[in-house]
Amino acid sequence: MQGGDYVCAAARRVVGAFVVPLIRLAGIERVFHLGDSTVHALDRLDIGIEAGEYVAIMGPSGSGKSTLLNLLGLLDRPDVGSYHLEGRDVTTLSPDEQAAVRSRRIGFVFQSFHLVPRLTAAENIALPMMLAGIPAAERTSRVAQALKDFGLDQRSDHRPDQLSGGQRQRVAIARATIMQPAVLLADEPTGNLDRATGDDVIHLLEVLNATGVTLIIVTHDQKLGARARRQLVMEDGRLKHDSARDGALPVA
């Protein structure tokens, strides 16, 4: 049965590849005005990402990788270009429609966790469902399942300040995936964690990716980036290297 499932998933992915990519960026530009000077944070960017991919966005700070992630997460709009998510042009959506897309299709994992300090682990995980107006009973059962899946069942009533860094990021990941999004966007997810805990978190994200969730990680950590199946290297707002196009990264 497991083999059959895998084949089905793979087939879906293949079909998806032929029909529409999950993410298609075309001619994206994002310009910031700082006083008199203008900064091209993103410059004529064309990227396609298929459903289920595991992508690392790398580059030095100021290269535009965070801006790209914000744009992918519909937190920011491009000045020029189009962004199609699951075949739908999302750049022209109203703010409320974009909020709905973020709610249903996108999950965020942040470097500094961004848990609400007054809410318990369980309440933090339930937050996206609460915002989406899902009834309390369903929230409770889904949170209970998530707590079990992420090994947090003993910590459900703990507030973030009573949790370790690794536990906090696990809560954040549980929260990011509770709405079963298509894409998981992670911005330096291990940046505030020690190496061992960071490895655990990355492993967890990779397991989620293996179940079909598209995983996009922003990192400046070469080793972490190398674990992804595809690397995008940014420099001065441009895509300097795409391993899917240019082959594997030369080891630095």
Partner: protein, 402 residues
């Protein structure tokens, strides 16, 4: 987001910062409590005065000697200001008027009572039999002044309950001879305690026939004439008839003042209502201040929780959802503050009533509704701006604040 979730989220957010929440609730509570207590005081004063006047008796018309100057000063007035005496005969003449039910003359002065080896100052009021009915007094013992010719009163007296207590104690007073100034009179009755009435404590008054009082104080004029109209509708008629009658008797000169209880009452009522409203208005300023404080608190909350707002947006919250959550929080602070203040205000009014039992310090309904309404209104109104600011925050910028 569901309404119940918005409310719960707002409640938890407010509870997450107890000091800040506590202070704004306190400010709102003080504002509302101030309105409730001050209007209770103002309205209490109004009721007190109204009660005092009502205690005088019903359908009352009062005649005062002298013309109250309402036309301003003029030399003609100056020449004719010396009023004629308002005499007992004048008063008796009023008894025959059609709309008049009862008339009682009143002459008053201070004297000493000396009996049973004790001595004290008293107010001596000279009047006649109808007085007890006009004022609706009740007798504790004996009877009131007898029906008799007003110009030839017998040497008898009716004493107030406090006089009876202080002079006679537990001994019987009725039938005893007392010395009143330089007269010897016999006590024929004791009034039931009635308490304060128009600044004169009836319990400390000695009533004698009007002619006796006039000769004691060596005067011909009356202090007042109290008239009871046949009905409430006859009050105006009584006023007209009395004025005409006395004018005719006084050489066609209108030299008395006729006031009706209703007119005095209405004036005081209006005056004290205006005062209460003014006091409420002043107290309402503190409500506006409390509203501005709620706004400040909410602005601080938006700043403090900027990262959280960014997060909520990233998790799919719409601007309207965030606005609602902050509005709900502001409303909760105001609501909680308003009801706490209402409770405090009622307690304050209760303490006032305990301290001054004669003073009916109850806040009027309109003030309570206005205070609660203003508190909620200002809280919500001043909550709009911070809530909109929160809703408009740029999620990328907001998420970077940590």
């Amino acid at each position: 987001m569901r309404t119940a979730d918005v409310l719960r989220f707002a409640r938890d957010a407010a509870g997450g910062y107890p000091l800040r929440t506590g202070l704004s609730v306190l400010a709102m509570a003080i504002g509302v409590a101030a309105v409730v207590v001050l209007t209770a005081l103002g309205d209490g004063a109004r009721r007190y005065v109204v009660d005092q006047f009502s205690a005088l008796g019903s359908n009352l018309v009062i005649v005062l000697p002298g013309r109250s100057a309402t036309g301003g000063f003029s030399p003609a007035n100056a020449l004719t200001t010396t009023p004629r005496d308002l005499t007992v005969d004048d008063a008796f003449a009023l008894t025959r008027l059609p709309s008049v039910r009862r008339v009682a003359p009143l002459a008053a002065g201070n004297s000493e009572i000396n009996a049973n080896g004790r001595l004290r100052e008293v107010v001596v009021a000279g009047t006649a039999a109808p007085y007890v009915d006009i004022r609706s007094f009740k007798m504790a013992q004996g009877r009131f002044l007898p029906e008799a010719d007003w110009n030839r009163g017998a040497p008898v007296a009716v004493i107030g309950s406090k006089i009876q207590e202080e002079i006679f104690g537990s001994q019987p007073a009725v039938g005893e001879l007392i010395r009143l100034g330089d007269r010897r009179v016999r006590v024929i009755g004791v009034l039931k305690a009635v308490g304060q009435g128009l600044g004169m404590n009836t319990d400390e008054v000695v009533f004698v026939p009007v002619s006796l009082a006039q000769s004691m104080f060596n005067t011909n004029t009356l202090f007042r004439v109290l008239i009871e109209a046949r009905s409430r509708d006859d009050i105006e008629a009584v006023k007209r008839e009395v004025t005409a009658q006395l004018k005719a008797r006084h050489g066609n000169e209108e030299d008395v003042t006729v006031i009706t209880q209703d007119a005095v009452l209405a004036t005081f009522d209006k005056l004290l209502r205006a005062l209460t409203a003014a006091v409420a208005g002043i107290a309402a300023i503190s409500l506006a201040v409390a509203g501005i404080l709620v706004m400040n608190v909410m602005l601080v909350a938006v700043t403090q929780r900027t990262a959280e707002i960014g997060l909520l947006k990233a998790l799919g919250a719409r601007g309207a959802t965030i606005r609602d959550a902050f509005m709900a929080e502001a409303a909760m602070l105001s609501l909680f503050g308003a009801f706490t203040g209402y409770g405090l205000g009622l307690f304050g009014a209760f303490v006032l009533r305990q301290m001054y039992p004669v003073f009916p310090a109850y806040p009027p309904d309109w003030a309570v509704i206005a205070a609660l309404g203003t508190a909620l209104g200002t809280g919500m109104l001043f909550g709009i701006m911070p809530a909109r600011r929160a809703a408009r925050l740029d999620p990328v910028q907001a998420l970077m604040k940590h």
